[in-house]
């Protein structure tokens, strides 16, 4: 019985952590569209307040999956397009929509750091996180409408 208790103690500690687990590219699959996550430039992830991990192959997948229950998320972060493999919090990200960005679910969407040198918010096709949600959900880009 005591052994069992020792076994369970770490479980209590692990289960409530809201630290994002790094995405295992090529192995993890998207929680929204089920595609395997392979591209380090477009991925996104979220962790709920209870520690449940959500991983997405594209930012548009995260937006569509979480738009009705995003308030329960402790962490929401997206891949930094200018620095693939690194994640940035959505509040610190600037989102760019451009035809040359071939994001996995067809929204032509990527994120960079707000303060990064290539960020130019004057551009008509850049959005901050809150505007992005409105933009994507109005456009319904996930269903093949360009």
């Amino acid at each position: 019985m005591k052994n069992l208790l020792y076994l369970l103690i770490p479980v209590f500690f692990i289960s409530c952590s809201t630290n994002p687990q790094p995405i295992d590219y090529g192995k993890d699959s998207c929680d929204f569209c089920e595609m395997t996550i392979v591209d380090r430039s477009f991925s996104a992830q979220a962790v709920s307040k209870k520690g449940k991990q959500f991983k997405y192959d594209a930012i548009e997948c995260m937006v569509n999956d979480l738009h009705d229950h995003s308030e329960g998320m402790a962490i929401q972060q997206v891949a930094d397009f200018s620095n693939p493999g690194n994640m940035i919090a959505v509040e610190q990200a600037l989102f760019i929509v451009n035809d040359s960005l071939k994001s996995p679910m067809g929204a032509n969407l990527a994120a960079i750091r707000k303060e990064s040198s290539i960020a130019s918010p004057q551009n008509a096709h850049t959005y901050y996180w809150n505007d992005l949600i409105t933009y994507l959900l109005e456009k319904d880009s996930l269903f093949g409408i360009e």
Partner: protein
């Protein structure tokens, strides 16, 4: 009439005289492909002799050329960019070995990039150590045949697709062999394409991947040991026949992933040794006829919102779970399939079991809600549960039955 004949005669005369052949080799007058392309005019043939050509960004704009490689000359792009960039009608590329296409996350470097072109053929080339292989955009009426594409996506976890088609139509993709890239063949906004007799193995993500692509057919292909065999997503009117899906094995692995697709048919396909042979989510009006499901973890896993799917005359042979179901039955129909798990009898000997078969086990319902329960698979307790559920279904959808299960394996 005479004038017309004269015109044709002149046209023929001029065109035969004008078309010349340019030979490229190290000792020749013209020793680089770029130089040859610059000299050539529409209708010319460029013949490249065996050798190593360190060239990239070879641009062919508006010239209808025939490029032929003899004994597979090697074009080494030295990881610097795209090898061929083509924007032209009526061209062909044959018999080249293109290698070392550098990876990049901002530009889609490819061995052969075809943009806004019509009536072309890309045949019997070898592409190795590539980022993207053959990349087509806004093109139509092309043949991509007999190409061998190899890369190392598995070890690098960074790769493009073998044959990548974007906003194109009326293509024939036949007899290609694609291994070790991200998606073997990828179609996005591609319509009316035929994908026939290709081999897609060991690719990081999918063997074949459709996104927003309608009216396509894929026939007689082999998909083995990919992240997942084929993914058909957000597409309509797809015909899938006589394909073999094998050994797509792993926690997120499928033989065939169907997501938001309508009006498709699956006929005479074989699914063997896959973790999940078919995962269907939001699919409507899909006909599954005469397919074989052999030794899969799940043969068919149906997730939410699937309407009017018909499963008829399929063979379900030794799968851990034949059918797993989430949600309602939704007018999906199972009839006249052969189930190796069927234990009923046939007293009137008409070949159809007298007792309906319920393909959804209680245990698969449990595993759906609590995935960890899978460790209890094949325990006696689970056997008892499944049996009692079979006698009086409580949790599994009561309407989900095959009312006419076949007694013998169906031959097709």
């Amino acid at each position: 009439m005479k004038k017309l004949i004269l015109f044709f005669f002149l046209f023929f005369f001029v065109s035969t005289v004008a078309a010349k052949e340019i030979i490229v080799c190290h000792e020749c007058e013209i020793s680089s492909i770029k130089q040859a392309v610059e000299l050539a005019v529409s209708g010319d043939t460029i013949r490249i002799k065996k050798g190593l050509y360190k060239e990239y960004e070879i641009e062919i704009i508006g010239k209808s050329l025939t490029i032929i490689g003899e004994d597979y000359p090697v074009i080494d792009a030295e990881m610097k960019g795209t090898a061929f960039k083509i924007k032209a009608d009526d061209f062909s590329i044959e018999g080249l070995h293109i290698k070392n296409i550098g990876t990049s996350h901002t530009s889609d470097n490819a061995a052969i990039l075809v943009s806004r072109s019509k009536n072309f053929s890309i045949k019997n080339n070898r592409l190795s150590n590539i980022f993207f292989g053959i990349l087509l955009e806004r093109s139509e009426n092309g043949i991509i045949e007999g190409n061998i594409i190899r890369s190392k996506a598995r070890s690098q976890a960074n790769s493009g697709n073998g044959i990548h088609v974007w906003h194109s139509k009326e293509l024939i993709i036949e007899d290609n062999d694609v291994q070790g890239v991200r998606d073997g063949i990828y179609l996005e906004f591609a319509n009316n394409c035929d994908i026939i007799n290709n081999v897609c193995k060991e690719n990081l993500r999918y063997g074949l991947h459709f996104m927003f692509s309608d009216h396509n057919r894929y026939l007689e292909n082999l998909f083995e040991n990919n992240g997942a065999g084929v993914a058909v997503m957000y597409s309509k009117f797809i015909e899938m026949e006589r394909n073999l899906f094998r050994k797509n094995w792993g926690s997120a692995s499928y033989g065939l992933l169907l997501k938001e697709i309508n009006d498709a048919t699956l006929k005479h396909n074989i699914f063997e040794d896959n973790t999940i042979a078919i995962s269907a989510d939001n699919t409507n009006r899909i006909d599954y006829l005469e397919n074989d499901f052999i030794s899969n973890g799940y043969a068919i896993r149906i997730r939410g919102a699937c309407y009017k799917n018909v499963f008829r005359r399929n063979n379900f042979l030794a799968n851990s779970f034949d059918v797993a179901y989430t949600g309602n039955i939704n007018e999906n129909e199972f009839s006249r399939n052969y189930w190796s798990d069927y234990t009923g009898y046939d007293l009137n000997k008409d070949g159809i079991g007298d007792v309906p078969f319920r393909p959804v086990k209680l245990f698969s319902y449990l595993v759906n809600t609590t995935p960890e329960a899978i460790i209890l698979l094949r325990s006696m307790f689970i056997g008892l549960l499944d049996f009692s559920e079979k006698v009086s279904p409580v949790f599994t959808p009561a309407e989900l039955v095959d009312p006419q299960p076949k007694m013998k394996k169906i031959k097709w």
